[in-house]
C-alpha cells in the first residue's frame, strides 16, 4: 500500500489515465440532414361550383397555384388574382426536407395538434370552410369563398403546430382569428403572398 503513495507513481498513474482512459480526440462529425423543415409549399386555388353548401367540380375550372420556397415566400413579383363571387377549393401540398411530395399527410395524421389559419384579408372579403377528410379541421383542404372585391392584401397562411390539448379550444370560426398566437405552439408554415380580389374577369395587374 505504501508504494502506491509515492508521488512519482501517482503522477505516472494519473498521466496514464489522462492519456488512455478515453479517446483524446473528437469523433469525425457526421452530417445530420435536418428533417424538421418543410422544403416547399404550394397553395392551389381551384374554382368550384358552390351551391346549397356543397361544392361540385367544374369541367374547366380556373386553377391558380403559387409555390413558396424555404423562405416562405413566392417568387418575386408573384401575386394571385381571385374573382369576387367565386368559391375555390384551396389545397395545401408540401414537400419534405428532401423535396418529396405528400408531406402534408403528416399534418392530417396529427390533426389533433395542427390547424391552418388564413389571415390578412380585409373584413368581409373572404370566408373559409375546413373540408379535410373525417372532419379533421386542419385546412389541408377547404373552400375559400371570395365575397367581394377589395384592395390588394397580403394573404398569410399559417400552419400552427399546437401544444397538446390546445386544439380543443379552437373552433372552425377561428379560421381567420388574428389572435391565433394565443393558441400556444409554433409555426410549421408561415406563407405570405399578395392577393388581388377583382370583380369577375377584371384582373388588375
Amino acid at each position: 500500500m505504501k508504494h502506491l503513495f509515492s508521488p512519482l507513481r501517482f503522477t505516472l498513474l494519473s498521466l496514464g489515465f489522462l492519456a488512455f482512459a478515453v479517446s483524446c480526440s473528437k469523433d469525425d462529425p457526421e452530417p445530420e440532414i435536418p428533417q424538421e423543415e418543410i422544403k416547399s409549399a404550394t397553395l392551389t386555388f381551384t374554382e368550384v361550383d358552390w351551391h346549397d353548401g356543397h361544392a361540385e367540380d367544374l369541367e374547366n375550372p380556373e386553377v391558380v397555384a403559387v409555390t413558396f420556397d424555404e423562405t416562405g415566400l413566392p417568387p418575386v413579383g408573384t401575386h394571385l388574382d381571385l374573382d369576387a363571387g367565386k368559391t375555390y377549393r384551396l389545397t395545401l401540398s408540401t414537400t419534405d426536407f428532401a423535396g418529396r411530395e405528400g408531406a402534408e399527410q403528416e399534418f392530417l395524421a396529427e390533426s389533433d395538434i395542427h390547424q391552418i389559419f388564413f389571415l390578412g384579408a380585409p373584413d368581409g372579403v373572404l370566408d373559409y370552410q375546413y373540408a379535410d377528410p373525417e372532419n379533421k379541421r386542419v385546412g389541408i383542404t377547404g373552400y375559400l369563398h371570395v365575397l367581394k372585391p377589395s384592395d390588394s392584401f397580403v394573404f398569410n397562411v399559417v400552419l400552427r403546430h399546437l401544444n397538446k390539448g390546445v386544439k380543443a379550444n379552437i373552433t372552425a370560426d377561428d379560421w381567420n382569428n388574428p389572435n391565433y398566437t394565443q393558441f400556444s405552439g409554433a409555426n410549421d408554415l408561415d406563407l405570405k403572398v399578395e392577393v388581388h380580389v377583382v370583380d369577375g374577369d377584371d384582373h388588375g395587374h
Binding site: 503513495f5 494519473s14 489515465f17 489522462l18 478515453v22 445530420e32 416562405g72 401544444n163 398566437t181 400556444s184
Partner: protein, 777 residues
C-alpha cells in the same frame, strides 16, 4: 444613485461609528497567539475548527494544516480561546499574555454524539487574499432540496439566472456560465455550461460546505474564473471505525415534491486510516404553481449517487471519489414559441393562455442529463509545513434535449452531446520560511465533445477537442498584521472543432490561445475588529464553442444566434476591496468591486437583420466582442439586538455597461435587499435545542438599466417577497433529529423576476411550503 449614496454613507460611517469601541486600537496591543488544533485520537491536524477569543470578537477557522493565529492582542489581558468543531468536545484555554504565545489544542471526540456527526479531518481550506464567503449550515438547511444556485443566492452578490422554475444557474456579481468556475469536490465542473438553460449538474446533498470567492481567481484556478469561484465540498470522511450516517427527507407542497437523501460512512478497523462513504439522493416533483396558476410541464426527477474512499497516513492522504448525477426535467410548455409574434402575444397577456392541471408527467420540451465524475487525489504533508497535491479527475456529461417535433419525432432528442473532460492538477506549497510561502502548480485539461449522430437535426455546436495547460506560481508574505500575495500564471489552450452546418458544409478548424494572467492582493488585520482585504486579479477565458460556431434558433427565445469563428479571448480585470468589522453585537462584511472586461463576448441584436424561413421571421443576434465595465457593492450585516434576537441584512447593487457602444448590458441583476429577523426560541431542554424562528423580507428593484431594442419586454416591476423559517433540533435517543419548516412567498404574491428568461410567459413561484427532517446516527 440613491443606492450608491446609501452604500457609500454606510462605508464611510462604519469606521467612525465604531472606532471608539475597537479596544485593540490601543497601540500596545500587538501580541500574537499561534497554535494548531489536532485530533486527540489520531494526532492529525484538524481544519475548519472554529476558534473564538474573548475578550474581543475575533473568530477564525483553523487552516488546512490545523494552524490558527490571533493577532493584535494586548499584554496583561487574560484571554479565553474556545475551539469548537462538530463531533468534538469544545475546548477552552485561558492565558494571560505577556509575550507572544504558541498553543497546541487537542480536541477530544464528543462521546455522546460521536457517531451522530461528521468528524472533521485533514482538509485543504481556501487560501486567498479575497474574502471567502460561506453559506451557513442554517441558511443551507432552509433552502434544502433546491438547486445549487438557490443555496448560493443566500449570499449577497449572488443571484440566479433562471429558465423557468426547473433550471437555475448561479450569477456572481453579474457573471455566470463560462465566466464563473464551479469546483465540485475539488474538480472543475465541466458540463455544457455555456448554455443559459444548462444548470450545474451537482447534488447539493453531497456537499456540506458551500463557499464563494468573488475575486478573479484566474491564477489559482485557471481559465473561466473571471467573475468568481463557487466551491462545494463534502465533509471529511470519518476516522473512527463506527458506522454512521444521516437521512434527510423533505416535502415541498408546491409541486408536491419529495426528496429522500441518505448517507452511510465508516472507518475500517482492520486498516486504520481507511474510511468510506456512500450517499444517494432521489427527488421527484410535479407541476409547480405561481400565485394563480399551475405551470405546465415543470416536473422534475433527479437521482444521484456518490461513493468516497479515503486512506489517511500521518503525512499523506489518498482520496478516491465517484458520483453520478441524473436529471430529467420538464421545461414549461407555455414557453414553447415559434416566432416573435408568439412572444409578443404572450408578453401582452402576461401569463399563459392555457390552464394546466397538476401532474408528475414530464413531456417535451424536456432535458435529460447524466453527469459522471471520478476523482483520485493524493495529498502529502512534509515536515516543516510544506505540502503537495496531485489530483486526477474525469467527467462525462451526457446532455439530451427534447423538443416538440414533427412526425412523431418527439422521442428523438434535438440535441445529444457527450462531453468528456479529464483534468490533472498538481501543486506544491513550500513551508513558511521567514514569513514567505510559495505555491507552484500546474493544471492540465483535456476535453472532447461529440454530438451523438441520429438526431435528424443540425447540432448546435460542433464536435471538438481541446487541451489546456497552465502553470502558476503564487508568492505569499505573511506578517503579523498583514499578508501579501502575488501570483502569475501562463495558460495555453488549443481548440479543434469540426461540424457540418444545416447545408452539410463542413466548418470548424483549429484555434490556439495563449494567456498570461496575474493577481496581487493583500490582507490587513487592522485590529481585533477590523480587517481589510483587497485583491486585483486578471482572469481570462477563451470563447466557448457556441460563441464561435452556433448557427441556429435559440430554444425558447425565438432568436437566431450566429457565432463568430474569429472571436478572441476575453480578459477580465477585477478589483475587490473587502473591509470587514466584527465587534460585540455587530458584524459587517462589505465587498466593493470594479471590473473591466476587455473583449467581452455577448450576443447582440444585429440591426435590421432578420432570418426569413418557411416557419416565420426571426431576429438575428450575432456574437460580438466589446469592452464592458462592472461596478458594484455587496453588503452583509448582522446585528444582535439582544441575546436571542438577530437582525441580518444582505444588499447587492451592480452597474454594468458596454463601454464601447455606451449602452447597458442585458441580464444584469437588479438591485436587491434581503433582510431577516431571527429569534432564538427560549425552549432549550434535553429534548429540544437550537430552536429558532426567522422572518425574512426580500426587496428586488426594477432593472431600469436596459436597452429596449435588445429585449421583447421591459424588465418587470419591483417586488417584495416575505418568508418564514423555523427549525429545531430534537434528541431521538442519543441521536439528533433536525426538523424545519420554511414558507417562502408567504403572501402568495404574483411577481416576475428580470433574471428569469421565461418571465415573458409566466410569473414566478407562488407560496412554497417545505417541511424537512434530518436524522443523524
Amino acid at each position: 444613485m440613491r443606492i450608491w449614496t446609501i452604500l457609500i454613507s454606510i462605508l464611510v460611517s462604519i469606521p467612525g461609528l465604531f472606532v471608539e469601541t475597537g479596544y485593540s486600537q490601543t497601540p500596545t496591543c500587538h501580541l500574537t497567539i499561534r497554535g494548531r488544533v489536532v485530533d486527540s485520537d489520531t494526532q492529525l491536524p484538524l481544519s475548519g475548527v472554529t476558534l473564538k477569543i474573548n475578550p474581543g470578537t475575533q473568530q477564525i477557522l483553523s487552516d488546512g494544516h490545523g494552524y490558527f493565529r490571533f493577532v493584535q492582542l494586548c499584554s496583561g489581558t487574560r484571554y479565553a480561546i474556545t475551539a469548537t468543531s462538530v463531533g468534538f468536545d469544545s475546548l477552552t484555554t485561558e492565558v494571560t499574555l505577556e509575550n507572544d504565545a504558541t498553543f497546541t489544542l487537542t480536541l477530544h471526540h464528543d462521546h455522546i454524539l460521536l457517531h451522530d456527526v461528521n468528524v472533521v479531518g485533514h482538509q485543504q481550506t481556501v487560501v486567498t487574499t479575497n474574502a471567502v464567503r460561506t453559506v451557513s449550515h442554517e441558511q443551507a438547511a432552509q433552502v434544502q432540496g433546491k438547486t445549487l444556485a438557490d443555496i448560493f443566492s443566500t449570499l449577497p452578490g449572488v443571484s440566479m439566472l433562471q429558465t423557468g422554475t426547473t433550471i437555475a444557474k448561479p450569477v456572481i456579481n453579474g457573471m455566470h456560465s463560462n465566466r464563473i468556475l464551479i469546483l465540485n469536490n475539488g474538480i472543475r465542473q465541466e458540463g455544457q455550461q455555456w448554455g443559459s438553460e444548462h444548470a450545474p449538474e451537482i447534488d447539493p446533498f453531497v456537499a456540506k460546505e458551500f463557499r464563494l470567492v468573488k475575486g478573479a481567481e484566474g491564477v489559482r484556478y485557471g481559465a473561466d474564473a473571471i467573475g468568481g469561484v463557487i466551491i462545494t465540498s463534502p465533509s471529511p470522511l470519518p476516522v473512527d471505525p463506527h458506522l454512521s450516517g444521516e437521512l434527510n427527507t423533505l416535502y415541498q407542497a408546491n409541486g408536491r415534491g419529495g426528496i429522500l437523501s441518505g448517507m452511510l460512512q465508516s472507518g475500517v478497523s482492520a486498516l486504520p486510516g481507511l474510511a468510506w462513504r456512500v450517499q444517494g439522493t432521489a427527488k421527484r416533483s410535479g407541476n409547480v404553481r405561481t400565485a394563480d396558476y399551475y405551470l405546465g410541464n415543470t416536473g422534475l426527477a433527479e437521482y444521484n449517487v456518490s461513493a468516497a474512499l479515503r486512506y489517511s497516513r500521518p503525512q499523506s492522504v489518498f482520496d478516491a471519489y465517484y458520483s453520478r448525477f441524473y436529471t430529467s426535467l420538464g421545461i414549461f410548455t407555455g414557453a414553447h414559441v415559434g416566432t416573435t409574434a408568439d412572444i409578443q402575444a404572450r408578453v401582452e397577456a402576461g401569463r399563459p393562455f392555457e390552464t394546466y392541471p397538476f401532474t408528475y408527467d414530464i413531456d417535451v420540451p424536456r432535458q435529460r442529463v447524466t453527469h459522471d465524475l471520478g476523482k483520485l487525489k493524493w495529498h502529502r504533508d512534509y515536515s516543516g509545513g510544506g505540502s503537495s497535491d496531485i489530483q486526477y479527475g474525469i467527467q462525462r456529461n451526457h446532455r439530451q434535449e427534447y423538443d416538440m417535433r414533427r412526425a412523431d419525432r418527439d422521442a428523438l432528442p434535438m440535441l445529444d452531446m457527450v462531453l468528456t473532460t479529464q483534468t490533472l492538477d498538481a501543486n506544491y506549497q513550500t513551508p513558511l520560511y521567514d514569513h514567505w510561502r510559495t505555491q507552484v502548480g500546474t493544471n492540465l485539461t483535456l476535453q472532447v465533445n461529440n454530438n451523438v449522430p441520429g438526431t435528424l437535426n443540425t447540432p448546435l455546436i460542433p464536435n471538438y477537442d481541446s487541451f489546456t495547460g497552465g502553470l502558476f506560481a503564487i508568492q505569499r508574505l505573511i506578517r503579523e498584521t498583514h499578508e501579501w500575495e502575488l501570483g502569475i500564471r501562463y495558460d495555453f489552450k488549443t481548440f479543434d472543432a469540426a461540424g457540418f452546418d444545416k447545408r452539410q458544409n463542413l466548418y470548424g478548424g483549429q484555434r490556439d490561445f495563449h494567456n498570461v494572467s496575474g493577481s496581487f492582493g493583500a490582507v490587513w488585520h487592522m485590529s481585533a475588529a477590523w480587517q481589510l482585504r483587497s485583491n486585483l486579479g486578471l482572469a481570462w477565458r477563451a470563447p466557448s464553442a457556441n460563441e464561435l460556431y452556433s448557427n441556429g434558433l435559440h430554444h425558447g427565445s425565438a432568436l437566431y444566434e450566429i457565432g463568430d469563428a474569429e472571436l478572441g479571448s476575453e480578459h477580465g480585470y477585477k478589483w475587490v476591496v473587502s473591509p470587514s468589522y466584527a465587534n460585540g453585537a455587530l458584524t459587517v462584511d462589505l465587498d466593493l468591486y470594479a471590473q473591466y472586461i476587455q473583449d467581452y463576448i455577448y450576443a447582440q441584436p444585429s440591426p435590421g437583420e432578420f432570418l426569413q424561413t418557411i416557419r416565420g421571421t426571426f431576429p438575428v443576434f450575432r456574437y460580438k466582442q466589446t469592452d464592458a465595465s462592472f461596478f458594484g457593492a455587496d453588503l452583509a450585516l448582522r446585528y444582535a439586538l439582544s441575546a436571542d434576537l438577530d437582525y441580518h441584512l444582505n444588499a447587492s447593487v451592480i452597474r454594468a455597461r458596454d463601454i464601447t457602444h455606451d449602452h447597458y448590458l442585458p441580464y444584469i441583476p437588479s438591485d436587491r435587499f434581503d433582510h431577516r429577523l431571527r429569534w432564538q426560541l427560549p425552549i432549550e431542554s434535553k429534548l429540544a435545542s437550537n430552536s429558532y424562528l426567522t422572518f425574512a423580507h426580500q426587496w428586488v428593484l426594477e432593472q431600469r438599466r436596459y436597452e429596449p431594442a435588445s429585449d421583447y419586454a421591459p424588465p418587470p416591476p419591483a417586488y417584495h417577497l416575505f418568508s418564514l423559517y423555523a427549525g429545531s433540533q430534537f434528541a431521538l435517543g442519543n441521536h439528533p433529529l433536525e426538523a424545519g419548516v420554511s414558507i417562502t412567498n408567504l403572501f402568495n404574491r404574483s411577481y416576475k423576476e428580470y433574471m428569469n428568461r421565461f418571465r415573458y410567459y409566466s410569473h414566478g413561484l407562488g407560496r412554497e411550503i417545505g417541511i424537512r427532517l434530518s436524522y443523524s446516527f
